[in-house]
Structure formats: C-alpha cells, structure tokens
Symmetry: D2
C-alpha cells in the first residue's frame, strides 16, 4: 500500500520503519527533514509538504500535540489541501474535541488510531492500537496495523471514541503511579522499603506491566532522564480534564493527579519524568529524594 507518514519523532520513526519492513511504499514528511534520513536510506521518499505526503491511499500522522496535528492538517499545504483523498490515520494523543473536528473536516475518511506502548514497543512492532472510525476505513487500515502492532482494539464508528479510550488509559497509568507513590511513601516511613512493597504488590494482585515498570522506577527513583516528561503527562491529564469538563464528569482522582504534576514541575523543573510525582508525595511527607529526611 502507498502510505504517507507525517511526524518522525521517536514513535513515528519506529512505526514508519516497520511499515517499510512490511513492504509498504512510504512518502514521509517531518518539520526538520534530517529526521527522515534513515528512512530514506531504506527506500522512503521525502515529501516537501504534508500535502505531498497525502498523495497515496493512506496518510498517517504521529505528532506531539493538538497544535501540531492542526497545523499539518488544516494549515497551508496541509493534508486537507492535497488533491488525493487518502484515509487520514491519526495516531497522536490528541483531544477528543480535535478528533471530532478532524472527522468533520476531512475530505476523505478519518480514522483515530492512538497507541499504547513506549518507543521500544514501537520498534518491536508490539504496539496496542486503539482504532475507531468507519468500519470500511478500519478494514483498509488492517495491513498497516498488522505491520506495527500486536493487537488492534476496534472501539467504535466515531473516531474520537478511540482518543477517549487512549486518554482514559493514560489517566489510569498516572493514577496507578500516584497510588503507588503514596503507598510506598507511607511504607517507607513505617520502615518498609518501597522495593519490598512493590515486590509484594506485583507478586500478588498487581502483576501487571504498569506496576512492574513504574514500581521499579519509583523504587530506584529513576526520574531523569524522563521517559515521559511531566509536562507531557500534565498535558494529557489536561486533555482528560477537557473531555471530563465537556461530558460533565467529576473525576476527583484526576484532580489530585493534576495538582501533583503541577507540584513536581514547580519544584523539579520541566525535565522530570511524570512518575516524579513521587517526589512531591515524598516532600509533602517530609522526605527528600534518596530517602534522607
């Protein structure tokens, strides 16, 4: 299949690479073209505008935030200005509101397909894909999905439903981190190490990747460099809150998460991992990083 790909960050590059590996013909675009070099060396063609990348049957975008997606879609020489009418597959974590506007605004079909998985999972073609949109368009995307992910969840006909599920997932992760941080801080003040608590949790009822991954990060206080920076986490929680606001849904745990993220950013700067909320929890209990009082 002839596929356009817009946005070659860490995630985008890994996904695009797997598409080439699966035999697809790729036309790629990125704001700074140098990020495309490795893909070009493997046979991808460089587009000079998002519109040019949107000349095939499918165009995929994988970008940092709403603003970037708006620019490459609605902007000058954006995807919508292309003569072709490709299916636009948006994999970015964006607001449900933008997903709805993208749905309304497309000339061709629009599919939301955000993913769960860190860059390593993207490289290994092990992403979980949350897909929503017209079922015909989803069917047409199957060759793409099978090349990059381990499982596709079809969420519904309305694209923004997939974005909502993605946002709920990120909320759940952040909630698990904060709950663990609170429990580990309490345990530590009672002379049980965080590592010991994590061992018990993941060895019993909480034997899931999210607790294993973040339990280890929290126990070792590996907050820098950030795997996922706190301001990005805050941005995502803000997207959840915008959906909750529009849908009139009070979410008190979400409120706690936002305050804790603000707190750690105010105290530790913008470069810390979102799991660094543990430092805010610890500080409020009179503990410093590293366990010293």
């Amino acid at each position: 299949v002839k596929i356009g790909f817009v946005g070659l960050g860490q995630m985008g590059s890994a996904i695009a690479s797997n598409l080439i590996g699966a035999g697809h013909e790729l036309v790629v675009w990125n704001r700074s073209a140098d990020k495309a070099e490795a893909l070009i060396a493997r046979g991808a063609r460089l587009a000079t505008t998002p519109a040019e990348a949107a000349s095939g049957e499918i165009v995929i975008s994988m970008l940092a935030d709403d603003r970037a997606v708006e620019r490459v879609t609605f902007g000058e020489q954006g995807i919508l200005s292309a003569a072709a009418r490709p299916i636009h597959v948006s994999m970015s974590t964006i607001s449900t509101d933008l997903a709805d506007r993208l749905t309304a605004g497309q000339s061709g079909a629009y599919v939301s397909a955000p993913v769960f998985g860190r860059p390593a999972a993207a490289e290994a073609a092990k992403l979980f894909i949350l897909a929503a949109g017209p079922s015909g368009a989803l069917d047409a995307c199957e060759p793409v999905f099978s090349a990059i992910g381990q499982r596709v969840f079809r969420i519904g006909e309305r694209p923004s439903q997939a974005n909502l599920v993605k946002l709920c997932g990120n909320f759940m992760i952040m909630a698990a981190i904060e709950a663990m941080a609170e429990a580990m801080t309490l345990a530590e003040k009672g002379n049980v190490s965080g590592a010991q608590l994590v061992e018990v949790l993941t060895g019993t009822l909480f034997s899931a990747p999210v607790y294993q991954t973040y339990g280890e990060i929290l126990a070792e206080e590996r907050f820098r460099p950030a795997g996922f920076a706190a301001p990005l986490g805050l941005k995502d929680m803000h997207l959840v809150a915008s959906a909750a606001h529009a849908l009139r849904t009070p979410m008190p745990v979400l409120s706690v998460l936002r305050d804790q993220l603000l707190s750690v950013i105010a105290q530790e700067g913008e470069e810390i991992d979102w799991s660094g909320v543990a430092l805010a929890v610890r500080r409020n209990a009179g503990l410093q990083a590293g366990g010293a009082l």
Copy 2:
C-alpha cells in the same frame, strides 16, 4: 503441630479446614460455637475460651477488627491469660498500632500474618501471606503457612510492618477501583461502554487480577450482595489513614477514597460492596445505576 484457632468466619473456617487437611491437631474457638461444627466433625476439638485454644505451640487468630482481636487477646480468659506461651499468629486486618501493642503485650512470641485473598482463595489454600516477626517464630510458622497459602512474603522483624503492607495493599485495590470507576464513567458519557474500556485495559497494561476482577464487577454493576462491604472498606481506609496520620504522610488519593466510600454508604446503605463507589462516581456525573440518565 498443635494449633489453636480463634475466629471461624468465612476466612477462618477455610484456613482451619486446610490446617486439619495438612494433618495438624486443631483446637478451635469461636464466639458462636455452632460455626465450629464442620471442623469438629473433621477432628478439631472445641475450646470454651480463647485461653483454652492457646494451649499448643501456635495460636492463630482471624477476626473482623481491632476490637475483636483486643477482646480475645487482652480480655478475660483471653489468649494472654493462658498458661502456655504459644506463638500468637494474628492474621486479621488490624491497625499497625494494635499490632505494636500486641507485640509489646505478648508473653510468647507474636507474629503478624495478614493475607491477600478472598474466601475462595482461602479454601483453595492459595492465600498470599504477609508475615513479620522474629525470624525464629516465622520459621516455626512455616508448616502453617505452607498448608494454607501459595506464597509467603517475609516483610521484617517488627510484626506491624506486615500489617502496614496489608493496609497499603487494600489502599491500592480501592484506588484501582476508584480510578477505573472514574474512567468508565467518563467513557460511558462519551459513548464507549465500560466493558469495552475494561477489555482494553486488561488486554494491555492492566492485565492484573485486580483489574480483571473489579473491571467485571464494575461493568456488570454487581454490587449486591457485597463480596467486601463498603463499611469494611471504609474501616480499612480508616486504618490506612490512622497509620498515615501517625507517620505524618499526606495521601490525597486516600482522602478521595474515604469521601467516596462515605458517599456511597450514605446513598446506598451499608450492604453494598466497596466497589459500589462507582455508583457515587456515576451519580456525580448525572448517571443512574444501569446507565439511565
């Protein structure tokens, strides 16, 4: 080993039964003696006081709350009034404060060994045991633990450490329930069913028993009869809060949990499951049970 067993509720009866099955000699006591019948039929001897049950090498107590444990231990004809000096193994979910007082007050060794697992796990001898106390005493308890559980976590030398870990675990469960309830309510208002969200979560990063078990309960709104009643959940969160208070550890997610449990009890009565907090979440979003507005 000659073992006394005090407290034959659902959990205690299942544990005692497995001890008999493993060949131990049991002397049992319960406030209402009729609960002991099935065990006596299988060879257990009935004690008329907790003190009488405390005549062997080990006496286990498995009771509802601090007050019940205080009564059978410090009360008239309680465990401490026995002539023998058995190891007291307290499996109840009690406060760290009481565990410390039990440690100080015992004539023999004292071990805290609270468990994770519902009655079905107790029957199947699949409990997870959190054990803390003098290592000699813990060694002496191994035949007991191996007869009733699938794995023992040794937490430390101070018995109350095991209770603290147990409380942290219950806090983590309740936090997972509340977070799921918030996410599912948001999803539902955005036209994604709770069941669908649970499928995605448990199929990706949240593939742990706690999300599978409670995800299903929440999706089906199976809150009655209660598997673990909301007032018991509130009691446990209160024990966590007491520890957090004593250890000067602010836990904002815990605060949310307590308010939500109060809310669902105020609205639905004392008989509802602790996962019924979902009803409070839903109501605050303008939804009724069953999804109707």
Copy 3:
C-alpha cells in the same frame, strides 16, 4: 469625557447609566441593539460597530467571556480598527492570558478594571473596582471610576494583575460557599439547622457580606433562578485554573470546587446558581433538597 461603551448586559447597562448620570457623553454598542434603547432615551448615541464606539478618549468593554472580548477587540470593525486611540478599559472577567494579549495588541493604552458587585451594586454605583495599567491611564480613568464605584483598588502597572486579583476573589467566594455547604450539611445531619449554623458564623468570626449573602441562600435553598449560574462559576474557576496552570501553582481546594460545580451541573442542569454546589454536597451525604432523606 467622551466615552464609548461596548456590552450592554445587566452589568454594562447599569454602569453606562451611571456614566450618563455623571454627565459623560456616551456612544454605546451592543450585539443586539435593542438593549441600548433605555440609554439612548437618556441621551446616549448608538454606534453601529465597536470601532465606532471607540472614537472618544475612553472605550469601556463589559462582556461575558474571553471570546466576546476578543471579537469586539480584534475582530472586524473591532475596537482596534478604530482611527482613534482611546484608552481601552476592560471590565469583563477574562483570563490573565487574554489581558496580556490585549495589553500587547492595543494601539492606545489598555487598562483592566474588573469589578466586584452584583447588578444591584452596579445600579447603586457601589462597585468595587480593581484597576491595573499604566498609572497615567489609570489617572485618566478616575472620573469614570468615581461615577460607578465606591472604591478603586490600584493593583499594579500590568493590566493582567487586576484580572488575577478578580479571579482570586471569585475563587475565594466559591471556596466560602463550598465550605459553608459542607459545614451546613454536617450540622444538619447532626440535627442543627443550616440557618442556625449560619447565624452563629455570621454573628462571630464570619461577619462578612459573602457569608451573610450566601449563608441565607444556602439556608433557604434559593438556587433558582440563578443569580450567577453554575456554568459561569465553572468558567471562572476554569480561568483560575488556567492561571494556576501557567504559574505552576497547585490549588487543591480549587480542584474540589471544579468537581463540585461539574457535579451539580450534571445533576441539576445549567440553570442553577453556583451556590447550588450545596445540592451536590447534600446528595453525597444522602440528603435531598428540602432536607428529606
């Protein structure tokens, strides 16, 4: 002084009327011109565009939200397209972000002058005015302020500072309402009427207008018709949160207020007063409106 006035809602009309009463020459504009009739009858001139209203020394805008202010300022035939360079005095409750953009974008001087006071206070020329901007411009506005308010607080040189103080004030009001609602609900469940509690509070340490006014509303459950509708309150709390987000300031009480406002809107609809959060508090305690269980 020749003054333009843009925005003739309840507040704007009352203020404009007092300016005429003080002898100023008014040119007024409103989206629906019929709102201007009473003022025209008293000598005001009707402008057909905001730009036309901005032909004198001062132009005042008093509008519902950021969007409305943006439109009359930056929009076609907006204030900025006027040939004259009047001082723009913005009295609306807007975001600090917009105030900063208005400051940067004006051709003439820009002053923020939001007010405290309900329509009755506006009619009586008893508003409290929070003014910030270049001191020369503030001096030039004194004749305006003295005609409409009882006291001017000069906050600083940067206009958005006045908006920030206004937002803080609205946050404080909402916080006082929520705290009273929680206390009154607790009291009532303990058989002390809300009215009695309010009498004690306002008769002792809380002898301030905000407790007198809202204490009475809460005690009598006078939530409809809305004096200040919950969605407007939510909008204001959202503006506070945006400032708090930009300034990296966690505000946990603010988070509670937003969730409670969402809750009452989800349950009671958009027409209820912002003090109707008391109904959400009551419902979470198992009470209905009117005190029945």
Copy 4:
C-alpha cells in the same frame, strides 16, 4: 454562685479570673497546682481533686482534649465521683461522641459550652459561647456566661450539638486560611503581593475578623510562635472528620485541610501555627518561605 473550675491553661485561667471578678466563689483544680497561684491570690480556693472542685452548683471544665476531659470526669476522684450533683459545663473543644457519653454518664445535668475566641478575647470577657443542654441548666448558667462572654448562642437541648457547631466553626476557619493561602500563592506567582490581595479581600466581600486576622499572619508569614499549633488544628479537623464519618457526610474540603496540615507538620515540625499550611501550599508551588524561589 459557687463554681468549681477544672483546667487552668491560658483560656481557663482567663475565664476563671473573670468569674472571680464577677463575684463568684471559685474552687479551682489543675494538674499542676502552680497554675492556680494567681487565682488563689485573688480569693479562689485550691481543690486537690476534680471531685473536690465539683462540690458547688456548677463545675466548669476547660481542657486540651478528649482524653483530659475523660480523665477529670470518669477517672479516679473525677467529677463524677463527687457527692454533690453540680451542673457540669464543659467548655473544651471535644468530640461529639464524648459529649454524648458525658451527657449519658453525668449524675447531674451536663451542658456543653465551647467558645470562639483566642486568649485575649477570654481575658476581655468577649468570648462567644455556644451552649447546648437542658434549658433549665442553661438558664442556671447564665450568670457564668454573662461574666465571661459577649454573646451566648443557644444551639439546642442535646449538648453535643454545641460541640458540633464549634467543630464546624473551626473547620470554616481552617478552610478560609487554606483558601487564602492558595489565592495568595497564586497572586504572588503572578506578581501581586499577598498583602495586596488581602487588602482587596478584606476591603470588599471578606471584611470579617477571620480574614483580617489570618490575612495579616499569612502576609507577614508569622507562623512562629504558634497562636494555635498545627497539631491542635489537625486534632480539631480529626474531630470534625470523626463526626463526618459517624454522620456519613463526605467533606472534600476537609480532606484537603487534613492533608495540608499533615504536610506542614511533616515539613516544619509540631511547633508551627496551623496557618502555616500556607508554607505547604507555597512549597508545592515551588516557593520558599520569605518569597524566594
């Protein structure tokens, strides 16, 4: 009237002194008798036990907490062991639960009469008295109340109602402090000084003693020595929470207050004023005491 007085702390001494000044005959008791010297010099008689102090028509107790009140009442040689049957007037800030037990346990009449007012107000006989109990007993107490306070609020027939109102009042004060602290921190990060914000608030809708007193303390960061120490504030919020728990009333603002008090105590120690929660608010926003970043 012959009056016994138990508990000669700062508040108790000031109140007892005013009773002597009004011509009453006093028998006083305190755990450490040296606190009684000034009163004895003015004609009071020293009792060697609380029971001995309870030999007149009325016995007043003014103590630090539930435990102290329980000891002087139910303890050996406590008030209840006296041969006389005086009216027991309990002015301490205690739990509603203890007030109910005191009501049930008294041989004579029992009245709860907690007060609003700091030591200076007690000295000036300007206390606000919240009184509840049988109306005959309240009538009999009028000579006492008029000698020590500026106004009596009769709350009801059940003594614990007065305690509940007192607790609600303390909750309201703490809520006002926290809300101010949040608003002042936000203002400061936006370059408006806390003092300036307080001036606006107290000059407009918040012209009440609580905002004047604490606004000044917060603006000047006068948290040591404590006027009312954070652990006492936490104890009071704990009493409110106990009542809220028993009455099944979720109070999310109260939950915030408790976490903030825990936080400031964990960070600043036990000697800080309860208004020191502002330091926790500031720290979470990345500010240090004294305004430095």
